[in-house]
Amino acid sequence: MKIYLQNHFDWCKIMKITFSQIVIILIFTGMSYATTSKGQAVLQRRLDVSIHNLSLSTTLKQLEKETDLKFVYPKSLVAGETDVVVEAKQQTLGEILTAILQPRGIAYSYIGDRVVLSKINAPVTETEQRTPQTDVTTPVNNVAKTITGKVTDEANMPLPGVTVKVKGTAIGTQTNVNGEYTLSAPDASATLVFSFIGFVQQEIAINGKSTVNVQLKGTPSNLNEVVVIGYGSQRKSDVTSAVATVKAENFVSGPVTDAAELLKGKVAGLSVSNPSGDPNAQSQIILRGVNTIGGANTAPLVIVDGVPGDLLTVAPEDIAEISVLKDASATAIYGVNGSNGVIIITSKHASGNVINEVTYSGSISTQQISKAPKLLTAQDYRNQIAAGTRDSTYDLKSSTNWLKAISNNFPLSETSNLTFRGGNNQTNYLASIDYRFLNGIFQQSNHQQITGRVDINHIMLDGKLRFNLGILQTNFNDLPFNTYDYEQVFKMNPTAPVKEPNGSYYQEPNNFEYQNPVSDIYNTDQPQSSYRSKYNATITLLPVDGLRLVATGSYQKSGYLNQYFANFQNISTIRDAQDGVANTSNGQSIDRYLNLSAEYSKVIGEHHFALLAGYEYQDDDTFNSSITNHDFPTDISTYGYNNIGLGAAQKNGLDVISSSRYQTNLISYFGRFTYNYKDKYLLLASLRIDGSSQFYGAKQPFGKFPSVQGGWRITKEDFMADQHIFDDLKLRVGYGVTGNQPATGLGLLGVGLLGYGNYILYNGQWIQTLGPSQNANPSLRWEEKHETNLGLDYSMFKGTIYGTIDLYNNKTTGLLYDYQVPSPPNLYPYTEANVGTLQNKGIEVALNIVPIKKNDFQWTTGFTFSTNQNKLISLSNDLYKTTVPYFTTGNTLDPITTTTNIVQVGQPIGQFFGFKVVGVSSDGKWIYQEPNGKDVPYDQFNHAFSDKQVLGNGLPKFYAGWNNTIHYKNWDFSATMRGAFGFQVLNSQRMNYETTGIQNYNRLASSKDKVFGTAVLNTNMPQEFNSYYIENGDFWKIDNINLGYTFKQLRSKYIHNPRVYFSTLNTFTITGYKGNDPEVPLTGTGLTPGVDPRDSYPAVRTFTLGFSASF
């Protein structure tokens, strides 16, 4: 059964085969850098230039073509300069220019958008340097001294073309291609000034030394750095949308679980949380609030080296930088997947420097529960028995701390990364091996990851044709933790032993949902392994001036094998007579991706144009299968999942075999136009058209996603020319539309489907019925987010203060939701439909200050602040209107089983909705407040739906972050603090385990406390969801602290800059919240934020010791 959308032709099928073959042959690809970057950073740009015996003027013309730069020079300057020979592979433009021009006595400087060449009037010679200039006071020890040294950047790469001057004199020189310089200082106490565009100027006193090596730091508010945007990059000064970039050196340090955790607290408006300490858990991300109520994507789209991926695609240690595209005008180019923002991960790549280097970094860490729950102890039980409130049969004569019983003491985790770089200018490579072993605080809970990666560049045809080839393979071997075992910690009788005297595990099979967690852990074997492999290739062709053709393709295959065996000692056999339960499930997913784009850029006078057009194709083929079996003849643990056919249950029709397969595709066309006038007025417009196979049969399977952005660099205006406050001030405004599709796994929602369902007895035989499996909705279309963003980028006092301010306002229309429809006439009471409008608006502020900027002492401090206001504007469908403007959602789970939240028109997402408690009576029974304000005692309260009211909201209204980085001599120190404010958390642990009436399970020690200071909760009060368990969640976390020492003085031929560091994660939390951690899941279903799950893996505090060096 194959379904084609209209307008397909037979030759499509033929060509498709061709396409597949080419995809396979070419094994597609990674990241395509658009290289139209204009500006000063271009001097750092690496080029391939092959010039032989050309005249200098021809050479310059060729360079102009290569770089989009304009060289300005008097003809006389280049006249007669011939025989230029340059064979540069991936060298910086600065290096190349220096190599060509310096020997010819020509200096160059970058002014505006041009490179101005001039005669080096007075070549700085030693002779002249000895001649003191006017106004130079002659120092006491007036002895001329030759100083040599090397200038490097932060990555220890040599910096050519750096101006080195003796302070207060005209004496100066420039560094050569290797970043080396030599000059004569007038005296040993002189001060050298190192300056270079794009870097912080540094002054260093000679102090009698003859060698002065300098590492220059990039200008913090570097408006000229290149920023990765969708399908390309832009100079930061040209960016007209809300984009934030975090580079590797600013990442959160420690054994992070995935790429997103690296960004915690670093980007305004991006909330990253890791509410679980499970080594197998992933970060949860929300960008600019909750934007959907039922769409597939609730988290940002993740692009890894140009190809859609996820947070685990690359090891955190392999990442060079991460860009976050925040507003819809930036993400509209990603169309249907862009509505929650886009996170673009750029992994470390090979570069053209002919430097062969091996870098090692590694760390070991340990963890502890950040705040452990306090339960009744064995002594508490005995006291209760003595007081007559507990039957003496509950004393089982032992004393066990069940939390300790399942915990590891100081589990050790480790990470190691070995990266090789090498090659020459024509072909170079980066290869890395990354090993991570994260050990959880609970026994038998860990995560092992081995990633191998190769990135190869090959350049030919004088740089006109470039190949990039990437291969990545990641293997995971995990032991997952069953949170049900953590639930048992709260239930287990503290007077019970872990093991009986005869060595068997203590169990009480008749106690409902009660089982020894230590036995569970050790009598369940559940290894899970998975892999991801990715092959990608990019071919870039620069056939004519200004035109750039890029083909990027990738083939990703991932798979898993999950196995499970509960042996005969497991409760499943002891209580349920299952005689061993085994499962083996596996699956694979193949994702193919092709992107073809053409970009043309042209400069006409002061007008800069660029046009990008592209086509993208993605498909996915996912297959899963699973077999479960029980009733094994023997308890030999090497059987189980290894010999699953031995179980008798499957033969008796009592267990499940299943398999499934889904294939989907997404077809896209995109285009972008950028215009820049005098670097002052900036314009960008883009359009993306996406078609998704999930909309097959719907009236509009293709969606259009336009955007337009404008920028005004106020500091470029004449009236700003005389002010000295602002270095740069740019006003940005953008509007864009992005999409979202129905939740995954729901295919073909636009058409009627038949599925095999329940059995009927037909003429003595059980047969499976075939009936409709959904209400079709041919009107189904994309959810659309329309966002307006107003931004200001500022840099003041020569980069001392810089940052951004963004205001956004967005509306998601046509919200996708499994909407309640009338039945009759509909077969099912729910239909996936477009049902309403949701608004999010907020402010994001990033403020960075460099209070201290001395040679051996730098302090950078940064603040982020963001707000989000969320409101459901409407909730109705074109066909069916609801008569009430709300629906309830969320569930307290067993045993309370009621909804926790309400989604209501005019209110934000995340409203807790339940009974409001205002006190307890003297006998410990709840006193409620009805919505009309009347107080009602427990026995007279109806507990009806109409008695429920809004009890709080789980979505924080404000987020703030404060990052500090201090460099003092060889020491570096950083601290990341962050907080969230204005929200409530449902403490499910208290709700379930503070009840006093339940005897057969343990409970929290806090159950002994008086409720509202009045009385201990009456034993007749059943577990209930009410406002008493909803707490304020406001918190301020000192999250990541990092202290490092770099051995800069170490003069070894083989080892460079070894660094040791100590860091902590989730260090300290200031909060009034009584549970484990107020930073609770915000995503999940998206509609029930702020519910602290009863049994989730608790949050942890991590301590890390790390080491890195290159060889």
């Binding site: 073809l596 595709n665 073909l748 006439p825 077969l827 057969n1000």
Partner: protein, 542 residues
């Protein structure tokens, strides 16, 4: 060399642009309806769908449907709070107190499952009519009649629970169509008309081909139920037509009473000649959570796992209301056959010890005492054992659920005769049904005409840890007849309907329940129905 690269690049671009411009979705778990041409072998699978709706209608996706609603809102059984839970947001207690709201799962489950059945019938009738399902002309008439009677059976539950509901008989309604509500008496007329027109067209055989489906006699049983409750549904009783419909089944001579009542409820009961219409269950084929018949799990305590060698430990909830147990004659074998009581043992005869709540460590012996719907221990309340519990049974049982059985036909005829003045016939029929239940004292099987008019022996009144009261019962007409229905049909998911017909449901107290308004003979329309269809008006009182 250069040219080669250009050609390669050019080819890639061409191939890319030309190859993939169409959406291509393959969902291997479903079939696209428009592209499926059914063959004759598919007919059974296609037309069987609405019968699966009966299973979920009776038991619900969360068990909160017809069976449980009719049971725990009435005076025979209750789900009290147990040491291991069974509070579940208070829903079972509200059902007992008659304090339910339109948000209850019960309202939602009965409504959506009944209408899912109706919509499936409408769809199949439309598809057969349109030739989309390949049925032969010979079978078409009978199949269409069966679907219409089946559809009427779903309306029967709707009229019983909600009264005023929309009648919808078409499938191809315009997009956005909202059906309008009909009055209870119009719904009654519609059901009677559908049944009387179509029953004669149904199969007249009673064998494996019609088992679990509507043949003529199942149709007449349904018709008899409608006439029996005509007074409740329309205000005008119709005892004569009820008797006629019952006689159709009796005169078919295809059904008989089982010599032992337990045979009707045996694990393998599909061959019982007492069953007129049943909802088939199987511990393998109907084992998934939404369709399994799990009464044994819901009623037994976890320790009873050892009694029956279950694979799973039971959940321990529903039990008898002591006042009802007290109405039984001690010689009535139904008291001991249908209710699990006294000390519990393992399969090998060792006594079971309680392990939950206050009776931890004490013998597990079910006693006919219950502190109240809001409080109980493991030992409280006799457990429901009418449906045979097989040794080693799984989570779902294999006992087919008899919705209409021959004893019911006889008792309907008896009640209709009694109410239309023929007490002698009534007494004969009731005696006929009782014959098998008094082996220890056969004389007690006989019931006289005079006895049937005696008051009930049910001692109505509050009877819990908070209050003890005694209601007047002399106002209940034919109280003994109501008692007879209780003794014979306890646990069969119908008590609410009988109590309403005898005027007891909203007038008497039992256990923790006090009357809470006469309007509670009807359930409120579910909130979701009211919210999605502005044509619907909520039932009076809610």
């Amino acid at each position: 060399m250069k040219k080669i690269y250009f050609i390669v690049i050019g080819l890639i671009i061409l191939a890319g642009f030309y190859s993939c411009t169409k959406l291509d979705d393959k969902d291997h778990t479903a079939i696209i309806a428009d592209q499926f041409t059914p063959q004759s072998g598919d007919v059974a699978a296609l037309v069987g769908v609405p019968y699966t709706n009966w299973r979920t209608l009776e038991l619900g996706r969360s068990a909160n449907a017809v069976w449980r609603t009719n049971e725990i809102s009435a005076d025979e059984t209750v789900i009290p709070q147990r040491p291991n839970g069974w509070v579940d947001g208070g829903i079972y207690q509200r059902m007992h107190y008659h304090k339910w709201t339109s948000d209850e799962d019960n309202c939602y489950q009965i409504w959506t499952n009944a209408y899912a059945g109706i919509t499936n019938c409408n769809r199949l009738l439309y598809q057969i009519d349109d030739g989309l399902i390949p049925v032969t002309a010979a079978t078409k008439t009978q199949l269409e009649a069966e679907l219409k009677v089946l559809r009427a059976s779903f309306y029967y539950e709707l009229i019983d629970f909600f009264g005023n509901v929309p009648i919808i008989t078409k499938f191809d309604v315009p997009a956005g169509f909202l059906p309008s509500q009909s009055s209870r008496s119009d719904v009654y007329k519609f059901i009677i008309s559908e049944l009387t027109t179509n029953i004669p067209l149904l199969s007249a055989t009673n064998d494996a081909t019609t088992y679990g489906r509507f043949n003529q006699w199942a149709g007449y049983a349904l018709l008899a139920k409608m006439y029996l409750n005509a007074g409740v549904y329309t205000g005008t009783p119709d005892w004569a037509d009820c008797i006629t419909a019952c006689n159709q089944v009796i005169n078919s001579n295809l059904y008989t009473l089982e010599p032992v009542q337990a045979n009707v409820f045996a694990t393998e009961n599909q061959n019982s000649k007492e069953i007129v219409f049943s909802i088939p269950f199987d511990n393998v084929y109907t084992a998934d959570g939404s369709t399994a018949w799990t009464l044994h799990m819901e009623t037994l305590e976890p320790e009873n796992q050892a009694t029956y060698n279950f694979q799973n430990s039971p959940w321990g909830g529903i039990c008898a209301i002591p006042q009802f147990i007290n109405t039984f004659d001690p010689d009535d074998s139904r008291l001991t056959d249908n209710w699990i009581q006294g000390q519990q043992y393992t399969a090998s005869g060792a006594i079971l010890i309680g392990s939950l709540g206050a009776y931890t460590g004490k013998p597990l012996a079910y006693i006919n005492q219950l502190p109240g719907v809001d409080s109980s221990e493991e030992v409280h309340g006799f457990r429901l054992g009418k449906y045979q519990i097989a040794n080693g049974e799984l989570v779902g049982m294999s006992n087919d659920f008899p919705l209409f059985r021959y004893a019911d036909i006889l008792m309907m005829k008896a009640e209709a005769s009694l109410r239309s003045g023929d007490a002698a016939t009534a007494a004969t029929l009731v005696t006929q049904v009782r014959q098998r239940d008094f082996n220890s004292n056969p004389a007690k099987a006989t019931v006289t005409a005079a006895q049937l008019s005696q008051p009930t022996v049910y001692d109505y009144g509050l009877r819990n840890h908070l209050a003890t009261t005694h209601d007047v019962v002399s106002d209940i007409q034919y109280g003994r007849m109501l008692d007879e229905l209780g003794w014979e049909f306890a646990q069969e998911g119908r008590r609410r309907q009988d109590l309403i017909r005898f005027g007891v449901f909203t007038t008497k107290s039992w256990l923790s329940h006090s009357p809470n308004g006469a309007y509670r003979t009807l359930l409120p329309l579910p909130t979701s129905a009211i919210q999605t269809n502005s044509n619907l008006k909520q039932n009076t009182g809610y």
